[in-house]
Every structure is written in C-alpha cells, then in structure tokens.
Amino acid sequence: MGAEKPEVFHAAARAGGAEGARMAPAAQAAAGAPMLQGTLDLMVLKTLETMGPQHGYGIARRIEQTSENALSLNQGTIYPALLRLRQRGWIRAEWGTSDNGRRARFYSLTRTGKAQIEKETESWERVAATMARFLAAPAGGEP
C-alpha cells in the first residue's frame, strides 16, 4: 500500500487506530527526510521558474515528482509557503482557469523572485558543498 501511495504522511499516520498502526511502517519506508527550513520556498520558486505560472496543486505534485517522493510533504503546507512568498513579493497570484476548465489561483514569479532564486541557489550550493566536504573528510580529522 505504501509503495503505491507514497503521499501518505505523518498526519494520516497519526490518525490513530488500527489503520495508523498498519500504515506507519510503509510511511517510514517511503517518505524519509523531513523538510528542512527554507527548502520548500526554494523548491516552489524553482518549480515556478521551470514550469511557468502554476496552481497550488500543480506545484505540490511537481515537487513530489521531482523529489521522487523522497520528501514527506503535506500538500497543504504548500499554501502557507505560497502566502509567505507572496507577502515577500517574490511571487504573485492571479485567478485563472486550469487545463480542465477549473477555476484556480495561478502563481508566477516576479522579478525579485527570479533574483531570489539565484541568491538562494548559490547559498544552498555552498551549504551542500560544505556538508559534502565535511562528510567526506576521513575519520580522525586533520593530521
């Protein structure tokens, strides 16, 4: 069950009762890493950069697919993040119509949002590189 439905996550797992107990191992197996603070913002921005204007559901699905379900993402948590980005002026929102004719709110990058991607990407790469070097260092440390 966990394998086909990787989007099962904590809240549902904690929903209690027999079902929760039954689902817990699967959830753990499928969705490993919890989200790091700030990573979601960059993911959303990056998604909008590659896909162009997109609605919340689309962004959430894209993040799940790109991360190959390696992240435990509550799709709902995307909305407070979208609000935060909007408040900072990095994205804007407009009501529009989706491919299958449904009314939805579409988010797109602003100019400052584009600049922000560069900045955050750079800082992420630095952190990642540092971490990689750190982890690759031989045991025993410096001679």
């Binding site: 989007e7 099962v8 959430a60 709902g76 909305y79 449904r102």
Partner: protein, 876 residues
C-alpha cells in the same frame, strides 16, 4: 525591504480577510487531486479520501495560513477591543460611571490646560510675536505709574536704541464719533505712532494701516477700525474704506479695518495716528506726560538681556542729562507674553494643579471600580488561565478594556472642554477674554488624548497586576461565599485614603479662595457702590477750559434736577478704572531737599458733589466750592493715607503742598478709597484731589447717586446730555456695583473653578467610598451571616463596615492635611485677608469632607446589618 513589504501586506489583511479565496483555492486543490485519482480508476469516495489524505489537515493549513496572513497581536487587540465593547454593553451602568468619571477629570484638566497653553505656551497671534517686548518706565524706588512713559523718553529710546527694529507707543483715548447723519457715539480709541504697525506686524483685513506720512503733524487725519467696531458702527460695510467721519469734531478718514482676532490692545474701537514729534512738549519732561504704553520689536538675533542692557544704557544717559525729571526712572523690558499674561501665572499654576488633582481622584475612582470588577471576574479569569490563556494575554485584555474606557471618557472630556472653552472664551476676565486669546487646538486635544490613554493604561494596570498575582489554585478552589477578604482589599483601602486626602487638598484650596473673595468683596471700600450710575463724557481735547467747565456744570445741574437723583459729581477716573497720574510734591511742613520732593502721590481731579455722590467721608476741613473750580491757584484735598504717612500727628488743613513753584492750600481731608488705580485689593496710597475745572479738563466720568435703581436713569440722563450739546454722547455706562463686580471677576472665577473641582472631588470620593463598602458587604455576606449566628448585634456589624472604610479615609485626611499645607503656598499670591495655614479653614474642610463620607458608608453598612443570617448562610 521584503520584510517591510511583508508587514504592509499583513497589515492590509487585518482590515480585509480573504478567507473565501483560500477556501476556494483549497477546494480546487482537493478536487483536482480527486480527479487524478479517479482517472486512475478509484471510486468517487475513495478518490476523495485519498485526495484529502494527501492534502493533510485542512484545518491546520487554514490556521497556519491565517496566522501567517495577519499580525497576531493586532488580531488579539481586535478581539480584545471587541470583548471590551461587549463587556460595556453587558454592564452599561458600570461603563457609564467610568466614562463619566474620566470625562470629568479629563474635561477639567483639558479646559484649564487650554487656557494655560493659549496664554503661556502658544505663540502670540502676531507675526514673529516672540520678538515683541513691552518697555515699561519704572521708578527706581517707590510706586510707578503702571509702566507708563512720557513722550520725550519714548523719542529718546527711538533715537538711541540699538536693539529694536522699530518701537511703538500707544495711548488710550476716549472720543466721540459721528458717522454721517447718525447720532454721536462714544468710542474707545487708541492713539499710536506709525511704528505701531511695524511692531505688531498684523496686516489689515481691509484697506491699509496708517503710515509715517499719516503720522506727521497736520497731515490729513486717518483711523483704522477694529473688527467689532466695524461690525457695530458700520454694519460690516466693506465700502467704509475712504469714508470720512467726524471724530471729536474733526474730519477723519477711515483707511483700514483690522482682522477679528487682532487685539493690541483689547477692546478698542479704532486706532488713529497720534502725530507726535519729539518737540511736542518743549523742554518739559515731567510726570504729567506719563500716558503712553511703549512696545518694541527686537532686531533679529537680539536677546531680551541684550535689549535690557541697551535700555539700561539709554536710561543712565537720560538720568545724567535730565537728573530732575529722569533721574529717578529706568526702563524695564519684558516679553509681550509676560506683559499680557505674566500676572496670571500664579493663578493658572494653582488651577492646573487643582485640575490635575481632580484627574488623579477620578483615575483612582476608576481604578477602584475596575478592581472591584476584576475581583468579581476572578473566577472567570482563573478558568481561562486554566484553559491555557497566558497571564500576559489576560493582563492585555484588562488593559485593553481600561484603555477603551479611558479613550471614551477622554473623548467625552475633550469634547466638553472644547464646548466649554468655546462657550466662555469671550467672557473670561481681562486679557483672557479677548477674541482669539483662548481656544483649543489639535495640539491641546492630542495631549489630552494621550493623557487619557496613559491614565487608562496606568490605572488599568492595577487590576491587571492583581489578576496576574492571583493564584490559580486558590481562586478556583475558593467557594462563592468567602469568609475572609479576598486580595485587593488592602489596595482598595489605600485608594480610598488617597482619594480622601486629595479631595481635602482641593477643598482647602477652594475654602481659602472663597474666604479671600469674601474678604475682598465685603471689605469697606471707602465709598458706597450701591445705587451709583457711572458714565464718561468726553469733549475734544482742545476745547477751551471755560467752554468745558460750562458744559460739565450744565450737565451736572440738569442731572441733579432729575427726579430720583440724590447727588451727581465728576472725576477724571473713578475707582476701579486702571488709570495713573502721579506727581511729586514738597510740603510746607517737611524739610525740602532740591531734586528730591518729599511726597509722591496719585492725582485725581473732581467737581460737583463728588463726595456725596460716591458716599466718601470728608474727615476734616471742607469740600471744593464753585469758586475753587475757577481759581488760578486751586486748593487741594488729600486723603487719609497721605496724612497718615506724612503728618501722622496733626491737622494738615491750612498747610500747603508745593509743586512747580506754587503753593496749594490743603482745605480738607477725605477718607481712603479702594481701587483708585484699578485694583481694589491694593491698599490705598497717598492721593491728592484737585478741582477739576480749574485747569481745564476734557475727559470726565459722572457719578450719579440715585434713589431708584441706577439703570433706570440712563435714558433720562442721555436726553439731558443731548439737550446740553447734541454733538456729545455718554460712554462706558455702568453701575458702580458692576464695576466692582468686574474688578473681582478674576478671583471670583478662580474661586468658582476650584470650588467646582472640590465639589466634584467630594462627589467622586463619596461614590468611591460607597462602592468600597458596598463591595465589602457583598463579598462577605456569608461572614456576616456567620457572625450574626454567633451572636453579633446588628449595630456592631454596621459599625464594622463603616469603620473599615472610614479608617483609611482618616489616615488619608491626615496625609492630605500635610499636602494641602504645602500646596496652599502656591495660592499665596491669590489670597486676601486669610493665611494659607488658617487652622479654621482646615478644620472646616475636614468636617465638610468627613460628614458626607461617613454618610456614604451608611447605606451599604446598614444593608449589611439587615442581612438575614439564615439566608446568608444558605446562599451558595
């Protein structure tokens, strides 16, 4: 930058939420997800469940979103304000009491502050008004003449000073104005130089002011009208500019009208060019010329001290050049503000203190009320705390409630202070009553609003802190019927004590001022003010002496012949009129020192039956005769004060006063009269009375003693004046009683204000103590029942509660007596005939305060005594 944008965006959403938008977005999300699941072959129900599961908690998302969207503390504030308003609606009596109490305190303080700010803080209503100074001529030793200067000394300042851009003089002038074919009207004019308009700097509303060309001798005469005179005499006709009118039988052209709020000085109808030049008075520089008020506009950057130094230099030069006339005088400068309002400073300081005390009393009352309420709500608060509300949140809620109440009270108070100051501004005594002098502006209102907010928060803190302090467990465990007093009772007693003490301070102040006023009004004046009509009658100043004498004699005889008139007399300035004319004399019974005349005295000229009309006693000798009024070497009358000072053991009748090389025989001594130079609070000084028509005067007041109410005689007298000379008109008509009334208007107002504050304070203190006792009783009903069941008598129960409230009040009164003794020193300059520490005043005030306080405790205490013990014990 992006943080700022975030804050702005959050602020916006506080005032308009987008919940509907979010809901629609979330619904769309779930449906899209469900659709995808359905497309993979799930049933409708399965697809929906799966979609919701992958979404996570909708409620949590919405909650997060909402927190993110607005500003939590503003949200809380909004909720607290809503809660506070609901509480007010729930108990309107409580809310109304708090609001009215605060409105009284804030209103009183704001009204007084408006006056203080208008006079002592705000710039005077002239361009660069802070650079205008009043220059007084002051006798180095002894009494001055109200700062008045002689013309020659003014022109010397004008020629020699280095500090003033321009200097101005001004003198009062009563004239008769004829406009076209209308009847003549007496007007109050001011003669001024052209520099007057440069010093005061206000532009005319219509036309122009007079200039240097108008202010030269024999130039065509010009006049500038004041706004009230323009309205009253010319019906506000804009075509008045260029019109010729007759002023004292000379043709004068109206060249301008000043704006409504221009008052320099207050109460004049018109300004005309004096056309003085330095040579006007020949070589004479004597005191007979002291009649002009002098002002100057400081050059940019010149300080008051520099200007004073400059004036000292000129004064010393003149003293050396003219030792006889100028040696005894010096110039003193003060700001125009000081000149105009400086004498009000002590009274205003006292009134502001009094209003501050009243505000404090009101705040204490409110704190007490809030505290009582907080106790009632203790259990509710404890419950909320138990359910997870933080102490901070609960305190914040209390503060919001008291801040909301105080803002409402503050607004009500400010509105009533605005209405009050607007309503009475023009009827305030003296310089305060001038148009535009006293008015509230946004600064005053803003300060008042801040003060009310600060008091709301300050005194709201008391119950807020109480609520934080109260232990959760104890409160919740406590049953409804408390046997022991709950927390806050000690605090409440303290507040009652402070309130009683502060009320005493106000009451003592009011009592001291009331006694002063009583002393002032009831003192012997040296004349009988009842049944006396006074009015002025002015001829052109160049009327021939004989012609003037005949006219005034004629009018006097006509008036005395009227039925209802007992006596009529004339004087150049009656008591209570602010007028000065001092001279220095030698006396034939005193050693003579050249250049140092022995006697300096105020001069008045009188005619007709002056002494009888005024009711002033002739103590020795005789009054003036008709022959005296025509004498080439007129005799004089002197007053008791002159005799007392210069010939304490002897009869001056038959002796002589020497002035300008002539000897004037003293033919009589009259009683002292109060108010000769204006103030009836001042002791009478030496005075010399001259026969009015021996030297030819053209400005006189008539005093008419009547058997009927004096107002009834006005029309008959006006008819007689018209028959004597149709070109003349009565001016400045008032009964002597009215003049006395005006002379004490300021002390009476001060007394009335402090007394009303004291009355309000007393009322608030009674309400406060009543509330405390009622609260104690309500809180301890069960205890009362228990005590009674154990055999306590009803009177004991009642006494217990009276005592509980009166004891702190007594302690407060004792402390208040000390404070009052200290603060009464502030009033010292306002007191008349009573000492600031008069023990009788204090004892009476304590009694006046204690009696109503005790009575206020009686009702709730007696209610307590009539509690039915069985019911009280059963009550849960």
């Amino acid at each position: 930058m992006s943080r700022l944008r975030e804050l702005w965006s959050r602020m916006r959403t506080v005032f308009g939420r987008h919940d509907a938008d979010l809901d629609e977005e979330l619904r769309a999300h779930v449906e899209m997800a469900a659709e995808e699941h359905r497309a993979r072959g799930m049933s409708e129900a399965e697809a929906r469940t799966a979609a919701l599961r992958s979404f996570g908690g909708v409620t949590q998302v919405r909650e997060q979103y909402r927190l993110r969207e607005g500003l939590p503390w503003i949200e809380n504030l909004r909720r607290d304000v809503g809660y506070a308003l609901r509480q007010m609606r729930k108990s309107p009596g409580f809310a109304a009491t708090v609001i009215v109490t605060l409105a009284l305190g804030i209103g009183a303080t704001t009204a007084i502050f408006t006056v203080v700010y208008s006079t002592l803080v705000r710039s005077l209503p002239y361009p660069d008004g802070d650079r205008i100074v009043a220059i007084h001529d002051t006798r180095i030793e002894g009494r001055s003449t109200g700062g008045l200067m002689t013309g020659p000394r003014f022109f010397d300042i004008q020629a020699r000073n280095r500090s003033f851009e321009s200097v101005a003089f001004l003198y009062f002038d009563e004239s008769t104005l004829v406009n076209g074919t209308k009847l003549p009207v007496a007007v109050k004019g001011a003669g001024a130089n052209a520099g007057f308009w440069d010093v005061f700097g206000t532009a005319p509303m219509l036309g122009r002011t007079f200039n240097a060309a108008d202010d030269t001798p024999r130039a065509p005469e010009t006049a500038v009208l004041s706004y009230p005179a323009w309205q009253k005499l010319f019906n506000g006709d804009r075509g008045v500019i260029g019109r010729q009118v007759t002023l004292d039988q000379r043709a004068v052209t109206v060249v301008g009208v000043m704006p409504q709020d221009f008052s320099a000085p207050g109460g004049v109808d018109l300004w005309h060019a004096a056309q003085f030049v330095p040579g006007n008075w020949g070589s004479y520089r004597g005191d007979g010329l002291r009649f002009i008020n002098v002002f100057g506009r400081l050059r940019n950057g010149v300080t008051m001290a520099q200007a004073q130094g400059d004036l000292n230099r000129i004064g010393e030069q003149l003293g050396r050049e003219y030792p006889q006339s100028d040696g005894a005088w010096r110039f003193t400068a003060e700001t125009l503000r000081e000149d105009r309002y400086g004498n009000l400073r002590p009274a205003l300081a006292a009134l502001l203190t009094a209003s501050g005390l009243l505000l404090l009393i009101a705040c204490i009352n409110v704190a007490n009320l809030l505290l009582s309420r907080a106790t009632v709500r203790q259990r509710e608060v404890a419950l909320r705390r138990a359910l997870g509300a933080s102490a901070m949140r609960v305190a914040a809620q209390y503060l919001t409630e008291s801040a909301a109440l105080s803002l409402m009270g503050g607004c009500a108070g400010i509105a009533s202070a605005y209405a009050l100051t607007r309503g009475v501004a023009l009827s305030l005594p003296g310089a305060l009553g001038r148009s535009g002098a006293v008015h509230m502006d946004w600064i005053v209102a803003g300060v008042a609003l801040l003060v009310s907010l600060a008091t709301g928060i300050g005194f709201g803190l008391v119950p807020a802190l109480e609520s934080c302090r109260a232990g959760l467990q104890t409160t919740l465990r406590q049953s409804d019927g408390r046997v022991s007093g709950a927390g806050g009772n000690g605090l409440r007693s303290l507040l009652v004590g402070i309130q009683a003490g502060l009320s005493l301070v106000l009451l003592v102040g009011a009592a001291l001022l009331a006694e002063s006023l009583w002393n002032l009004v009831k003192q012997p004046l040296g004349f009988e003010p009842g049944h006396v009509l006074t009015f002025s009658l002015n001829l052109p100043w160049d009327t021939k002496p004989e012609q003037a004498r005949n006219f005034y004699d004629d009018v006097e005889q006509r008036i005395e012949a009227l039925p209802g008139v007992t006596a009529a007399g004339q004087i150049n300035a009656p008591p209570t009129v602010d007028w000065h004319l001092r001279s220095s004399f030698d006396a034939d019974w005193l050693p003579r020192i050249a250049g140092q005349p022995a006697i300096n005295a105020e001069n008045r000229t009188i005619a007709g039956n002056y002494l009888r009309a005024m009711g002033t006693a002739l103590l020795a000798g005789r009054a003036f005769t008709a022959e005296d009024q025509m004498s080439k070497l007129p005799p004089v009358l002197v007053n008791e004060a002159l005799v007392g000072e210069f010939m304490p053991k002897g009869n001056p009748v038959g002796h002589h006063l020497l002035i300008d090389g002539e000897a004037h025989e003293i033919v009589g001594v009259m009683g002292n009269v109060r108010g000769t130079s204006g103030s009836i609070a001042a002791e009478a000084g030496p005075e010399v009375y001259w026969p009015a028509h021996a030297n030819g005067g053209t400005h006189f007041y008539f005093l008419v003693r009547t058997r009927v109410p004096p107002e009834q005689m006005v029309d008959a007298i006006r008819q007689q004046v018209y028959e004597a000379d149709p070109r003349q008109s009565m001016g400045d008509i008032a009964t002597m009683d009215q003049r006395i009334d005006d002379a004490v208007a300021e002390p009476r107002l001060n007394m009335a204000v402090v007394a009303s504050f004291a009355g309000i304070a007393l009322l608030l203190a009674c309400v406060g103590i009543y509330g405390v006792v009622a609260f104690l009783v309500a809180q301890r009903t069960q205890e009362i029942g228990l005590r009674m069941a154990l055999g306590a008598r009803r009177s004991e129960i009642a006494l217990l509660f009276v005592w509980r409230a009166v004891l702190p009040a007594l302690v407060g009164l004792a402390a208040g007596t000390g404070v009052a003794l200290g603060l009464a020193q502030l009033l010292r300059s306002q007191l008349y005939g009573v000492k600031a520490n008069d023990p009788l005043v204090y004892v009476a005030s304590i009694a006046a305060l204690l009696i109503p306080l005790v009575i206020a405790t009686l009702r709730p205490a007696l209610l307590a005594a009539w509690v039915n013990p069985a019911e009280a014990l059963r009550a849960e």
